[in-house]
Structure formats: C-alpha cells, structure tokens
Symmetry: C2
Amino acid sequence: MLNQSPSNVKRITCIGAGPIGGGWAAHFLAQGYQVTSYVHDENEYPALMRLINTAWDSLKQIGLAPNASLDNFSWTTNLAEAVKDAEFIQESIPEVLPLKQALYAKLGELVDDHVVIASSTSGLSMTDIQEQCSTPARTVVAHPFNPPYLLPLVEMIGGKKTSLETVEWTEQFYKCAGKSPLVMKKEIPGFIATRLQEAIWREALHMVANGEATVEQIDQAVVNGPGPRWAMMGPCEIFHVGGGEGGMAYCLDQFGPALKLPWTRLVAPELTQELRDAMVDGSIEMTHGQDFETLSRKMNKGLVEIAKLKKQAS
Amino acid sequence: MLNQSPSNVKRITCIGAGPIGGGWAAHFLAQGYQVTSYVHDENEYPALMRLINTAWDSLKQIGLAPNASLDNFSWTTNLAEAVKDAEFIQESIPEVLPLKQALYAKLGELVDDHVVIASSTSGLSMTDIQEQCSTPARTVVAHPFNPPYLLPLVEMIGGKKTSLETVEWTEQFYKCAGKSPLVMKKEIPGFIATRLQEAIWREALHMVANGEATVEQIDQAVVNGPGPRWAMMGPCEIFHVGGGEGGMAYCLDQFGPALKLPWTRLVAPELTQELRDAMVDGSIEMTHGQDFETLSRKMNKGLVEIAKLKKQAS
C-alpha cells in the first residue's frame, strides 16, 4: 500500500550518476524537489555536477518551479543513506541485468515498501529486474528520453509482480512532476518510441549501405522535411491532417495501396478493416473530433515557430 | 543550354492549383517572385486563393522578402499564356503518369528549352515523365514536403535524358529561392525522406494492428520523445551526439549488437566495417569535426526553444 499522495512527494532519490541519472536529478530539482543522488564512485561526482550545471542553464530558460534551487541537491556514495528519506526513487544504473537485480534485492530491504522504485531501463523487463526483490509490487519501468530534463516522455510498464496501484500512482506522480507518462499496454522490446526511432535508423543504415544516400543527406531529409512536423504532431495526426477534410479515412483509402510499394524495406501489415477502423477512430478520438481547419492551423502555427527559430539560428 | 542565371529568375509559373501547387505559389510569392498559376478548371480558383491567403498569414510571421507581394500573383486557365513569360516552371499536377506525360509533351513545344521544368512528383520517375517531351534535357524531379512554404526540403533527381547542367542549375535556383535542395545519388522509390517517414508509419501500423499501442500512444511517443530532436537534428547527428565524446564510432560499437534485437520489425543491414566507416566518417564530415560539447549545446539550445514553444502553447 502506497501511503503518500503523488502530489505530496517532496524528497526524491536518483540512483546512478550518468547522463540519465544526472539528467533526472536536474529535472526534479527544476521542479522544486529535494534531490539526493546516489553516486557509485566519488570520482563520478565532478562529471555529475557538470551535467547538472549544464542542464540548469537550459532549465532556467524554460522556467523553474518557484521553490527550485540547486541548494536542494545532495549526494552520497552510501546507498542506505541515499534512500533513507526518499519518497520516490528513480533508478538509472547501467543496463546489466545482474547489477539491477542485486540492487533491487538491496533496495527491497532498505526502502519502506510504500515507496515506489522506478527504473529508467530502456531494454530490460521489470519482471526480470524485480526477481530477487522481496518487495516487488512497488517497482515499475519508467523509461525517459534523453535528455530527461528536456524531453517529457516516460514510457511505463510494470513487471509480473508490480501492483496496478503502483503503475497508477507513478503515472500520477510523473504528471505532478512535469513529465508525460505513457503507460504501455504490453511489454514489447524497445517499448514504443525506440521502436519508431529504430525503424527510421535501420532504413537509414540500409540506404547508406546501398549507396542510395549519404549520412548528411539522411539528416537533411529529416531536418528539412518531416522532422519539424514530428516536434509538434505524431505520425498519425500528421496523416489525419494530410487527408484534408476526409482525415485519416481519406488518407488510408487513398494511400492504402502505397503500403504495398517498396517505399521502405519494412513490409507493412495487412490493412484490414479492423486496422483501418482502429486508425480512423483513434485519430478522431485523439484529436477530439477537431476539424481539418483547426488541426491544420495548429500544425502551421508550430511549423511557423520552428521556421522562425531556424531562421534566427542561421 | 540554360541561358538565365539561377539568381536572375524573376517570373515563375506554377502548374497545378492543389495544396502542393498552391503552396509553391505562396512560397515563391513570399520570396519576391512574380508568380503565375495555371489552373486547370476555374472552379478551383477560390480554393487556391484560400490556400494562398492562409499560407500568407504564416509567411508574414516568418518574414517576407522586401519586394514580396500578393499583387505579384496572377492566374489563368490557358496553359500557353501561363508559361509564356516563365523563367522557371514548377509542375504539381495529379500523380497520374499519362497526364504528366501529355503535359510534358505540350510543354516541350510551348516553352523555350532554356527554361527548366521541375516536377513535384513524390513517386514517379522523370525518366517516365519526360518520355514524350521533345526537350527532356531541362526537366527534373523536385519533390517538396508539405506544406512547401514551411518545410524547406526539395528532393531532386533527373531522368535518363535530363542534363547534368539542369540538375546543377536547379539546385542553385532553389538555394536562391529559400529552399534546401537535396540532389539524390540514385532514383529510389519514395526518395529519401518518404522512405524514412514510411518506415516509422509502417512500424506504427504494426503496433496498432497487434494491440501494442494505441493511435494516441504512437503520437505521444513521438511528440514527447524523439520528435523535438528531429526538428533540429537528423538521426545520424543525434546518434553522433548520443555517443558522447566517442561520437558515432562509440555509438555503433556499443549499440551495434542491438541491431540484431527485435526493436522494430525492420531487419537491419549487416554492420560491416565498410558501413561502420561510412557512418563514422560521414558524421564527422557533416558536423565539420565539431566536438561533443559544441554539438550537445546546439542540440540543447534547439530543444530548449521547442520546450518553451510547447509551454507557451499549453
């Protein structure tokens, strides 16, 4: 039973002092929390502080919480001390399963079981990580995108022994803490965002391998083409707008046959009636039924701002 | 022989009055050109003007060329009149090969052969389009991203009968006209940007079809995760920065094995020494050997601005 309301959390412990662990520390500090970092080796401390200071410059520009301060930061190489007063723990140690399992076994003993322990793992499953933990119900995967203080996504999923309450509590907690949590429906390799990113990456590698494009051309194609749209809208909403008044339905009916064309090396799924309906209904629901005019204004507004940024930068 | 310097072009004809043709007209007007649109059916004119006026609102915010004005726009349903004084022609009629072939046959007769004719086609090859044209050397594919007045990419490639001079002239012309031309090395289906976009799209369709993610989750994963990075940097530069001091080389050596993992349904190419070198050398060359510190500051700067935009919008 988690006895703390997500909105009442004040003290957070970040375990791990690399780019992800340090990035989380900076994010939570900017949101006004008391943050303690557990640093495995004191030699890692200077790099951690450089990272937090660099992040702080960015975070000040975006806007800090009223009570945010670097004075709210402390660090230690003593794990028991690091977690003693923690009301939430974000773990970001290296992606080595036995290391994670040993850590969660220790944390299971050290930390009251009403405190959630969230793992930044990008590839391991919580079912595996929590295996040797005596109190696994409060452990959950919460995978950020780098840098965690600038990109809001947190992909979440529990392991077999994680309680539903933990997942719901943690989702609420991240919303309070200025993040955009996404609770996945199934444990899949690479979660959602990395799968999408990896599809682009592998297609790019194929093109370079085949002499179809250079490294620079790949990047120019993204940055000057679909990239700015993806900062504002996801691929589904973009096609929903791209379909004009007819939305996603028009788009699928018009471009459905193109799914058979060799426009990427990835073979598309069969566009069944069921999949078509899921895409159409999902797009309408996601955009709250807003019409083409409204959505295309929203897209243009974002693209104008990005175009202005790029004009200033060049 | 093209007798006009790319920087001296003043009069442009846009053939086609749909979103792409109209978007091109708006872009060229904002750059200060005299623009004539050929409109196939006069009933299309009101929609064309709505599109140009909507685009103009956006273009004013980004900044117009000193001599830019909607007064520089004219239109006609007479093809011969439309192209009479053209110094450059951008063709954006429907993607139907026989229609395009018939149009290029006519244009071959109507237009002096020192004037370049560029096609916005997203899927057809210029070798096919130019087949019935008596003056094919000055015809070239120049595929924009929608909307053409906000996204700078133009993917270019000639057909078998296109002259090298035409490709080079047109590349220069687009640079003068505020676009980012990308001359492709090979004619490949979907060109470069659409292939990358299609890889993401098909992976997304698979995930929805398998109940692994909803439409909304796909979009949230992109917009809150990798999307903002793609507005500023392409996938190669992102991994080059992601590798820290070691850059792309570190990244490939570290994550090379992950190419074998089922992180997307797209099977990766073999990471040969040759491909590894192409990625590493290409990344260093593209970034002019800038170090990690410089590149990561550039990335953070862009992400801070996008985070500020989103904070304002919400």
